[in-house]
């Protein structure tokens, strides 16, 4: 089954890290991605630009509105994802638990819709 691991973290936290720690943080993600690939479960994954770059589009009564900013203002922001292919939820949760994001934010695990 394919699962999306959605990473939510305080993006300001990362921005305020001293360079050495920020580098260590990046390296942890690189190693994690490598481990996913090595296990043959990695389908995809990307980091996103901060929410300051976000634009939201909604059509109400036929009129399209374009708004500056993310869909919702929250303490922790959606900042990146991994897509993995594993046998079941327990395997997905085991991978989520290894994701560096669990130490500075949360990882939401969702199965992909299958039709």
């Amino acid at each position: 089954m394919k699962y999306l691991l959605m990473i939510y973290a305080d993006e300001k936290g990362y921005a305020s890290l001293p360079p050495a720690e920020a580098k260590r943080g990046m390296e942890a993600y690189i190693a994690y991605t490598e481990a996913l690939k090595n296990a043959g479960v990695h389908v995809g994954g990307d980091r996103l630009q901060p929410t300051s770059t976000a634009t939201t589009v909604r059509t109400t009564n036929g009129k399209t509105q374009v708004l500056n900013g993310p869909y919702s203002e929250t303490k922790e922001q959606f900042g990146g994802y991994y897509m993995i292919d594993v046998p079941d939820l327990d395997a997905a949760l085991a991978w989520a638990a290894r994701c560096p994001a669990t130490h500075h934010g949360v990882v939401e695990v969702r199965p992909l819709w299958v039709s």
Binding site: P87, D88, L89, D90, S115
Partner: protein, 415 residues
């Protein structure tokens, strides 16, 4: 007519003996608990139509499984299209190619794996016990709802949602690996204890649905100890439930009045059940891993010993409560500990200990807290305060017999 009765008796017996086993087996690979339950109920209907004419089959479980698997395949063909269904069909067809040997009696027992799926951390904790009752024991939503004091429609919806989550989120039917077993087993045991506790709450045994739950709880607990032998906490839980169940008949007198443990007629206790509980507790202690249920069973054991031997053992009881409190920090444990302290002629110390937990806002609505407070205040001679505490306790109680008991204690206070 006789054939129909025979068929029905056979079907009932199979349902009692093997319902959970059949559901677990049918749902193991597709994880579709609802689909398995529907197919099985169709298979039971077919059995009642066919068995009276042709006689009950030699292996009714295998017969039901074969029919239910065909129904599941028809069901998935009807319901959905697309790749996922194709996959599911392949799984089901694959199983058909490997037909159940009608002569061999053994269907693999996946009930424990089913229980682990039902009590998975991804399933809302409040619905785990009802889900196990439905999937493993075959109880219907209305019966479960009445036992858990919930509206049947709401219970039905929550059960449907939970089963959908097992299927769609990919919750596996598997006994967890060693390193996570104890945590995951705790969730299963907690759900089983919740089943038992709902049954236990109906002390008078007037509500049949709830009285049965105590038995179902013990059955499920024993099932875990059979399928996962040697787990100290599972053994401890069964010991705890048997200890409590053994005293059922003594909890009310012939007029239906509440009888506290200290005044129970011990000749009404089921000594064979107490012996079993003690043996299980002993077996658990050999596992060398103490836990909540073993401690609670040990407390039951201590209370039973005190009553049977008339030898006060309150210091030991307080020690056990201390160990339990260190593990759970539960205010409920603190209340019981305070009552034990009071038995050692230290009501003031007990009252002070009770004040320490009083900050927990949940206790405002917790009857045993107010009853304990009232009892301790009575002992210290603070009669006016005791009267007020009894008022609150009486107002919070649901059980008529307990309410009358508290009212008697209150009116026995010196004016």
């Amino acid at each position: 007519m006789g054939e129909l009765t025979d068929a029905r008796a056979t079907a009932d017996a199979v349902a009692r003996r093997s319902y959970g086993k059949l559901v677990a087996f049918l749902a193991a690979r597709t994880r579709d608990v609802a689909g398995a339950e529907d197919a099985l109920s169709d298979a039971f209907a077919s059995a009642l139509a066919e068995w009276p004419a042709n006689g009950s089959p030699a292996n009714p479980e295998a017969w039901l499984l074969t029919v239910a698997r065909r129904k599941m395949i028809d069901g998935s063909r009807r319901r959905r299209t697309g790749d996922a269904v194709a996959d599911q069909l392949l799984i089901l067809m694959d199983e058909l190619d490997d037909p159940v040997d009608e002569k061999a009696a053994a269907i693999p027992d996946n009930r424990l794996a089913l229980m682990f799926a039902c009590a998975h951390p991804a399933i809302d904790a409040g619905i785990r016990a009802p889900l196990i009752l439905q999937a493993v024991m075959g109880l219907d939503a209305a019966t479960i709802a009445s036992a858990f004091l919930m509206a049947p429609a709401a219970m039905g919806q929550r059960l449907v949602r939970a089963k959908k989550k097992i299927r769609d989120a990919g919750i596996p039917f598997r006994i967890p690996e060693r390193e996570e077993l104890s945590e995951r087993l705790d969730a299963v045991l907690e759900a089983i204890y919740a089943v038992f506790a709902e049954g236990w709450a109906d002390a008078a045994g007037t509500d049949v649905a709830r009285r049965d739950l105590a038995e179902e709880g013990i059955f499920l607990g024993r099932l875990v100890t059979e399928l996962l032998p040697g787990e100290p906490e599972a053994l401890g839980l069964v010991a705890l439930m048997l200890h409590a169940e053994a005293r059922r008949r003594a909890r009310r007198d012939s007029r239906g009045e509440y009888v506290p443990l200290a005044e129970q007629d011990t000749s009404l206790w089921d000594m064979a059940m107490i012996d079993q509980a003690e043996a299980l507790l002993h077996e658990a202690s050999r596992g060398g891993a103490i836990g909540r249920y073993q401690l609670e069973a040990a407390l039951q054991s201590a209370h039973v010993h005190r009553r049977l031997t008339n030898a006060a053992n309150w210091a030991h009881v307080v020690q056990l409560y201390d160990a339990l409190f260190a593990m759970s920090a539960s205010p409920v444990v603190a209340i019981n500990r305070a009552l034990a302290v009071a038995e050692m002629r230290e009501p003031e110390a007990a009252l002070a200990a009770l004040d320490e937990v009083a900050a927990d806002s949940r206790l405002v609505e917790y009857q045993p807290y107010w009853a304990a407070r009232a009892a301790l205040l009575t002992k210290t001679g603070a009669h006016a305060e005791a009267r007020r505490a009894y008022d609150v306790a009486i107002g919070l109680e649901r059980d008529d017999a307990v309410r009358r008991f508290l009212q008697q204690r209150q009116s026995a206070l010196p004016a």
